[in-house]
């Protein structure tokens, strides 16, 4: 520990959202110069604390102090910004503005006229520093999730603030990008910057943080140095009970089972070429690859979100109409899209309704939908996937990120699909929820569904019976179960072929 001065302190914070108590007398104290992890299950109140620490929301009770001084008044945004910079969990990118302007939002210039040329140059330099390969002039709205996340990070870190909060910055990033982020964080720490880091990847906590606070059910549970809180105890503190590590199941080899999802000669210019794929019932096939390998593009084609230039996709024996989601769903497919905010849910609608849109026709006769049966189905899903909510009628907009993700999976599983395509299903999901999400995918496979799991996370890929590695738009390797991390990473980086 560098010193014992508290860079930031929150005391007895209580925050309610209508019926939900997001924080209940919670507290946190972060010593100057350290990188402090805040962990907790989805909905534990982490992001709410972040919005209070950055002055976006006012606590109902309690107090925030910076370096021993009371926090500035809520209206004085400049004072807040001098004290704390933040990567929020919810995107704060403005889609209609260019990348360069997003990076220097509201500080395009000190005073006077904006010099766009120099702004672009500064932006390019910054992007280079963070290894973000995008043109500073593109509209931020045209970027992918991952690039947007990098943009947020670059922006927050470039402020020169002495205290930086990062709320799940790694959820949308792949390995190399995470490493670049950690390098930056380390060098900032050397310069004496204090950081608060939120992540559901506990190994990241051990890698980058010195101390850790755990929140559970809106309360502060424990704060300790990371050395004093080994992995198992950390998980126990988060969940409030002894939690076993996830047990990957083994399934009988499905070589005789029918093919439920297959492609022939699928190509999309600039994304992937000539992909042949066969997924059998009861089989989980992983799809791995480094950035821009085309795995997401391929998966999106399987479900009908994209249209391939050539080739066919067959679900359950039916040739589906390219680029047409309903026909894929009708053929018996379920899927989790990459960006839940974009394609995953309708924020104003209830959990039950979001989870049942694809099966609405089964919830009543003659096109009617029985609210009781919908609620019943919702309640079942809430239980099955362990969604933290006030009930099936709560709008998804009010859920924490991880819980919203579970609703998206609930939607994918609604129709008991024969083929399942899930893209980064565990992004932003807590340990226990991750178990239930992966468990749900495995359950579906056990029930006889064939699944394609696209993920950047090696842990997720372990449930797969085999992993297909993509490189520059081609499937280059078929790795059967039992791989080691190094093996797979090497294949993804294209080293061994």
């Amino acid at each position: 520990m560098t010193s014992s001065v508290k860079a930031v302190e929150a005391l007895g914070i209580t925050k309610r959202f209508g019926p939900t108590t997001a924080l209940n007398g919670a507290e946190i104290a972060i010593t100057e110069g350290e990188t402090h992890a805040l962990i907790g299950r989805n909905g534990a109140g982490k992001s709410t604390l972040v919005s209070i620490l950055t002055g976006l929301q006012r606590p109902d009770e309690g107090e925030v102090r910076f370096a021993g001084q009371p926090a500035p008044p809520p209206a004085d945004r400049d004072a807040w910004r001098q004290r704390v910079a933040c990567v929020y969990q919810k995107s704060t990118i403005i889609p209609t503005l260019s990348v360069a302007e997003n990076l220097f939002l509201n500080r395009q210039t000190e005073r006077g006229r904006i010099n766009w040329r120099s702004l672009r140059t500064r932006a390019r330099r910054l992007l280079e520093q963070y290894g973000v390969d995008v043109d500073a002039e593109t509209m931020a709205g045209d970027l992918g999730v991952e690039q947007r996340q990098l943009l947020e990070i670059a922006r927050a870190l470039s402020f020169g603030a002495r205290f930086i909060i990062l709320d799940e910055p790694t959820a949308q990033l792949d390995g190399p990008a995470i490493q670049r982020l950690f390098d930056r964080m380390r060098s900032l720490r050397e310069q004496g910057v204090t950081m608060m880091f939120i992540s559901h990847h506990l190994e990241e906590v051990y890698e980058i943080c010195q101390s850790v606070s755990v929140f559970r059910d809106a309360r502060h549970i424990v704060t300790a140095a990371v050395e004093d809180l080994p992995h198992d105890r950390l998980v126990d503190a988060m969940t409030g009970e002894a939690t076993a590590a996830y047990e990957y199941r083994t399934r009988p080899l499905a070589s005789a089972a029918p093919v439920v999802l297959s492609t022939r000669g699928l190509s999309l210019a600039g994304r992937y070429q000539n992909v042949d794929l066969d997924v059998r019932a009861g089989e989980i096939v992983g799809l791995a690859g480094s950035g821009s390998s085309g795995k997401v593009g391929l998966a999106e084609t399987l479900v009908g979100l994209q249209r391939a230039d050539t080739g066919t996709v067959t679900v359950n024996g039916t040739d589906i109409k390219q680029g047409d989601v309903p026909s894929a769903l009708r053929a018996g497919l379920g899927f989790v899209p990459q960006d839940r905010h974009h394609q995953g849910f309708v924020p104003l609608l209830s959990i039950a309704e979001n989870a049942t849109i694809p099966i609405a026709h089964k919830l009543g006769r003659f096109g009617a939908v029985s609210p009781a049966r919908r609620r019943e189905h919702g309640a079942r899903m809430i239980e099955q996937l362990d969604i933290k909510t006030t009930g099936p009628d709560q709008p998804v907009a009010d859920l924490s990120g991880g819980n919203a993700q579970k609703v998206v999976l609930a939607r994918a599983l609604a129709d008991d699909p024969r083929a399942l395509v899930v893209i980064n299903p565990t992004a932003g999901v807590d340990v226990k929820a991750k178990h239930s999400l992966l468990g749900a995918v495995e359950d579906a496979a056990d029930r006889g569904a064939g699944a394609v799991l696209v993920s950047d996370e090696l842990d997720d890929l372990r449930i797969c019976d085999r992993v297909l590695v993509m490189f520059h738009g081609r499937i280059v390797k078929n790795v059967p179960r039992g791989w080691t991390d190094n093996e797979l990473v090497a294949a993804m980086e294209g080293i061994d072929h």
Partner: protein, 337 residues
Amino acid sequence: MTTTKTSSPVSAAPLGRRIQLGRFRDLTLVPVIVVLLIAGSFVDPIFLTPGNLTNVLQQQSALALVVLAEAMILISGKFDLSLESTVGMAPAVGVMLVIPVAAGGFGLELPGILAIPLCLLVGGLVGAFNGFLIMRFQLSAFIVTLAMMIVVHGLHLGLTQGKSLFELPESFLYLGSATWLGLPAAIWIVGALFTVAIVALGYFRVGRSLYAIGGNADAARAAGVRVERVVWVVFVIGGIVAALAGVLETGRLGGISANQGVGWIFMAFAAAVIGGVSMDGGKGTILGALTGVLVIGLVENILTLKGVPGEWKQLVYGSIILVALMISRLAGGKAQD
């Protein structure tokens, strides 16, 4: 959707109350209606008589249908300004196809009984054309329907040469002027259509999909909703309902003037929005929109009974809408958008 952070006022509300209110969010105008009923009864004893209240309902029946159409379109996240022009043009064209040249017709003199079906067909075609432009060409609904509002009204003016049509087939006037079981037929029709719409949007798959589309069209698409088709159908239905509104209005007034419907769209929006339908889509109910229509109708009726001088009437009227808005905001407790 920029989910506006409703900071202090909301979180301050006690727990139980909010839950309860949440369930009746579409009824936040009910207190306003109660206030108006009380105020009206002081203004004039005639106000609370069944005759007067029936009049209010009948007078609002055509507007109510436009509000119904607009509310559906708003809920699915779109806009239709051209409805007001359809209210005039569709009946005019429908009628001109059946009446003789001497009475202002085209000279086709189709059977008079066809006038209403033709009118509804014309309304549907306008809606279909709107939907086609908006969904196929990905044009802004606001601006397409603004242009179409001018085009459709222009067509009406051009075809009728600006003249009113008043020699209409009896069958065309029937719906707007008949009385069924002691109440004007228009009220029954409007009531039936609202009931159908409330049930459809509340308990039927297609209806619910409007909310999904308005709330997040991409998510709806990814959940298998055929967004384009549904929105297109909503536009068509909207056009047909607006044409029906024109039929009722024509029946009530006994003729079709070149200005029929002009200026209605603002009132329709006002009714829908004070009734809780969001301009951003995905929010609000048909029942709420209906309460909005009632508020507007009652305000107009009270101002008429009170005999507010014409030059001050608009001011009073606008102020009352503003107050109704604030009351429903305070009662509803939610930020609007």
